[in-house]
């Protein structure tokens, strides 16, 4: 048996620090929102000439006076991703850009993907993304409250909150792009982390009924250990699937799978080191769960 409870204090401090740092990062550095949430134009193009590189593309785009531009390589040798923060939407159309580009660099380009999101739509998407995350947290809180007790509900939500905040904090730290699929990833993280917490909680509840003399401090440790092999195996299989998406699933899914990989790791950690210490702090005992059965 591993004494997870020996490290409750230490990891609580670490978690608190992580959350504070993440919030500070989100507050001061902010998130790197993609065109979905910020508006603007995204072009994924493939050059039919090997001479084309990021620098020549950037120069060419800068000459078109489109405002703030970001050019980067995207997957293959000749694939590039261009983001244009277009303030004035009517300024120039994709067709004009395409023509200017091939004239300037005397090469032909295949525009493989074009996304153009107006400011109104992007703010709506952002709003609905935030609502979706908050709503799902609330729905889970409610579900756990019904299935368990409020103490469990609080522990689970704090664990979820931790996972979401720290994942976003890492996205902020490395300036990774936040787009629609990241919102999907965050919601899946919420589901996964909850899944993990619930399995351990389920065991805690079972053990609480079984052993009245064991203190919650010990009891959580027993429960974590009993479910440990499951926790590890499921995390491993999920990570195997996610890593294969990250490595082979193409550029578009990279951000999504990366967020999920981080989320799975944090989710597993938080089920052990946040969800359980909360039960200890709240002095959950046999009475807590038996109360319900008597009513």
């Amino acid at each position: 048996m591993i004494n997870f409870n020996k490290f409750y204090k230490l990891f609580n401090i670490i978690s608190a620090c992580l959350i504070v740092i993440s919030i500070l990062l989100l507050f001061f550095k902010g998130l790197n929102f993609g065109v979905d949430f910020k508006g603007g134009t995204l072009i994924e193009l493939r050059a039919n000439d090997k001479k084309i590189n990021v620098i020549s593309l950037r120069d060419s785009f800068n000459n078109m006076n489109l405002g703030n531009i970001n050019v980067k390589k995207f997957g293959n040798e000749n694939d590039f991703l261009i983001k244009i923060e277009k303030k004035d939407r009517s300024a120039s159309s994709i067709e004009v850009i395409k023509k200017n580009l091939s004239d300037n660099l005397s090469a032909s380009f295949n525009f493989r993907r074009v996304e153009n999101v107006g400011p109104k739509v992007s703010s709506e998407l952002l709003k609905s993304g935030i609502i979706a995350i908050v709503l799902s947290l609330a729905a889970m809180l409610f579900y756990i409250w019904i299935r368990f007790e409020w103490q469990f509900s609080l522990g689970a939500i704090l664990a979820l909150f931790h996972d979401v905040i720290v994942t976003l904090g890492l996205f902020s730290l490395f300036a990774l792009e936040i787009n629609l699929s990241i919102v999907a990833a965050v919601l899946t993280i919420v589901g996964y982390s909850m899944n993990d917490t619930v399995v351990i909680y389920d065991r805690v509840r079972e053990n609480l009924k079984k052993f009245s003399e064991i203190k919650i401090f010990e009891l959580t440790n027993i429960s974590i250990n009993e479910t440990l092999s499951r926790t590890i195996i499921t995390s491993v299989t999920t990570l195997l699937a996610l890593i294969s998406i990250y490595l082979f699933g193409g550029e578009v899914l990279k951000g999504f799978s990366l967020a999920m990989i981080m989320g799975v790791i944090f989710g597993t950690y938080s089920s052990i080191y946040i969800a359980n210490p909360i039960l200890v702090k709240l002095r959950v005992s046999q009475k807590t769960i038996l109360k319900e059965d008597n009513e």
Binding site: E44, E95, N110, F111, R112, R113, V114, E115, N116, V117, G118, K120, V121, S128, G129, A132, L135, S136, A139, M140, Y143, I144, R147, L180, S181, V183, A184, L187, T188, V190, G191, M194, N195, V198, V199, D202, E206, E226, T227, S229, R230, I233, T234, V236, T237, T238, L239, L240, A241, L242, S244, I245, L247, F248, G249, G250, V252, L253, F256, M260
Partner: protein
């Protein structure tokens, strides 16, 4: 109990075989397979364009106010009440009256049978909200008055958009209402939306009006630019004909001038009016105005009584074809703005499918190898279950003809990773049971029963996330939530029916064996 009735075994097998059969129909040509249902590929996988259009209702609101103002003027004159200073300001209609007429005029507007301020029974509201301050009446479009304007302009606009898209002839376009002032256009397989975008960007409001020199024309005049932007002309506001009178329009080569023109045919009313106007206006210039710009302004040489004519302008064959198309499909009630556009080329879509399928295969392979090493024979059972689960998932998506997107493929891969969780929970529980229970059958049975609540709770929470994602998410993300949600149900089915059945067969056969798992 590890006992399964014959009926149950047969039912489970039938359902499974049926779904596997349906799922496999996706991999064969539709002509050879019995089932025509197929998973639709999202625009991000098959390539295509997604356009979100917003109707600019501002001009319509103003039109409505102008129309109502005229109506009020005539109505009040008719009723012989005193009113002064009737005007439109800040999107409201104002007028003043005298003390004694306030009550009478108020009743004209708040009566449920009111002719000038229609009452909507279903909303319990009038078209206009009325406020009276001293002697001044103020009429503002009510919330429902605005909704009424929006929905009716949306209804008209979607019809015109549909006609224009159909005329261009893309395959299986998807045109839907969004909210009450937006239209979503999905064009699968279209990798260059430029032409459609420019067609949808035009209101195509066509009018025929005389060019005039006097600025005191009874109907009012306005200065309009020519399309080339170089010249302008003073044009009467009196409309002789508009696009609604057009029966047909086609691009044509004019043999004499070798110019491309758009020839048009008018309906009976239009032909009559056109004939009369051209007979009286010989020698005058007739301006053909499209969306506020003069296309051309030919001089009338003869009365045109045939009800057909030609529009010339500096057309290429393409622009003449487009103009004819716009005229045939009719004018939009209000301008449309493209507020969101996503286009994916077909080769990128194919690349995404290839990458997604490859990632799925690798992920699946890694998981089944891991499970086999960890649980041996039971790992094998879990793996068979997982494979069946995949087919079930694809089968159900096929039945519903769901749309598979790239995030949707990610959802399937994620299901592969997470689907083994239920089996792992059960197997681990059984292992624990073996510590206190020596009877194989009882240990397995208890393991299944005791792990049930955890599995249920765990899956319900994921399902909650998927459902919220479905209702809040848009486009590709929706596809992800669908596969995730369906994946949860197929997982539970395959774990509790298929895996459990296979396990029970094995355990019952080996009930004396030690260290079974």
């Amino acid at each position: 109990m590890l006992y399964f009735s014959k009926l149950r075994i047969i039912l489970v097998s039938l359902v499974t075989l049926f779904l596997v059969f349906i799922a496999s129909s996706n991999f064969f040509d539709s002509e050879n397979s019995l089932i025509s249902k197929r998973i639709n590929l999202g625009l991000d996988l098959q390539g295509g364009s997604y356009l979100l259009l917003e109707i600019d209702n501002g001009p319509i609101e103003i039109q409505k106010l102008q129309y109502t103002t005229t109506f009020i003027r005539n109505y009040l004159k008719d009723k012989k009440v005193i009113f002064t200073d009737l005007r439109i300001e800040d999107k409201s209609i104002f007028f003043n009256t005298t003390e004694k007429d306030i009550k009478i005029i108020e009743s004209f507007f708040i009566d449920k049978e009111s002719e000038i301020n229609p009452y909507y029974n279903q909303y319990k509201s009038h078209q206009f909200d009325l406020t009276i301050i001293k002697n001044e009446f103020k009429l503002t479009l009510s919330k429902y008055g605005l909704i009424d304007i929006k929905t009716s302009s949306q209804d008209q606009a979607i019809e015109i958009v549909r006609r224009r898209v159909d005329e261009v002839g893309t395959n299986e376009p998807n045109i839907l209402k969004r909210g009450n002032n937006r239209i979503l256009v999905e064009l699968p397989g279209l990798d260059d939306p430029m032409r459609i975008k420019s067609l949808l960007g035009k209101t195509a409001n066509l009018t025929f009006r005389f060019v005039t020199k006097k600025s005191n024309d009874t109907f009012g005049v306005e200065t309009l630019q020519f399309e080339d932007g170089a010249n302008e002309a003073l044009v009467s506001k009196r409309i002789i004909l508009n696009g609604e009178n057009l029966l047909d329009a086609q691009p044509q080569m004019n043999n004499q001038t070798n110019e491309t023109v758009v020839s048009f045919t008018l309906d009976r009313v239009g032909a009559k009016r056109f004939g009369k106007a051209t007979r009286n206006g010989i020698g005058k210039q007739l301006a053909i105005v499209l969306d506020g710009k003069i296309v051309s302004a030919p001089v009338i040489r003869d009365a045109i009584l045939s009800g057909s004519g030609q529009i010339s302008g500096n057309f290429t064959f393409q622009s003449a074809t487009d103009l004819a198309l716009l005229l045939r499909s009719g004018a939009l009630p209000a301008p449309l703005n493209i507020i969101e556009e996503r286009t994916v080329g077909p080769d990128l879509g194919q690349d995404s499918i290839n990458a997604g399928v490859f990632a799925l295969l690798i992920g699946f392979l890694l998981v089944i190898i891991f499970m086999f090493i960890k649980y041996k024979i039971f790992g094998l059972i879990a793996n068979v279950t997982l494979l069946v689960n995949l087919f079930l998932l694809v089968g159900i998506l096929t039945i519903f003809e769901a749309t598979l997107t790239l995030p949707g493929i990610a959802g399937i891969i994620l299901t592969v990773g997470m689907a083994v969780d239920a089996n792992v929970l059960i197997f681990e529980r059984i292992k624990e049971e073996f510590k206190s229970e020596k009877n194989n059958i009882i240990a397995f049975d208890t393991g299944y029963i005791k792990s049930r609540t955890a599995i249920l709770d765990a899956n319900v929470t994921t399902l909650i996330a998927a459902i919220i994602l479905f209702f809040m998410g848009s486009g590709p993300v929706k596809g992800f939530s669908v596969t995730l949600a369906v994946g949860i149900f197929t997982t539970l089915f395959s774990v509790y029916f298929i895996a459990r059945m296979l396990t029970s067969f094995y355990v019952v056969k080996n009930k004396e064996k030690v260290d079974l798992i």
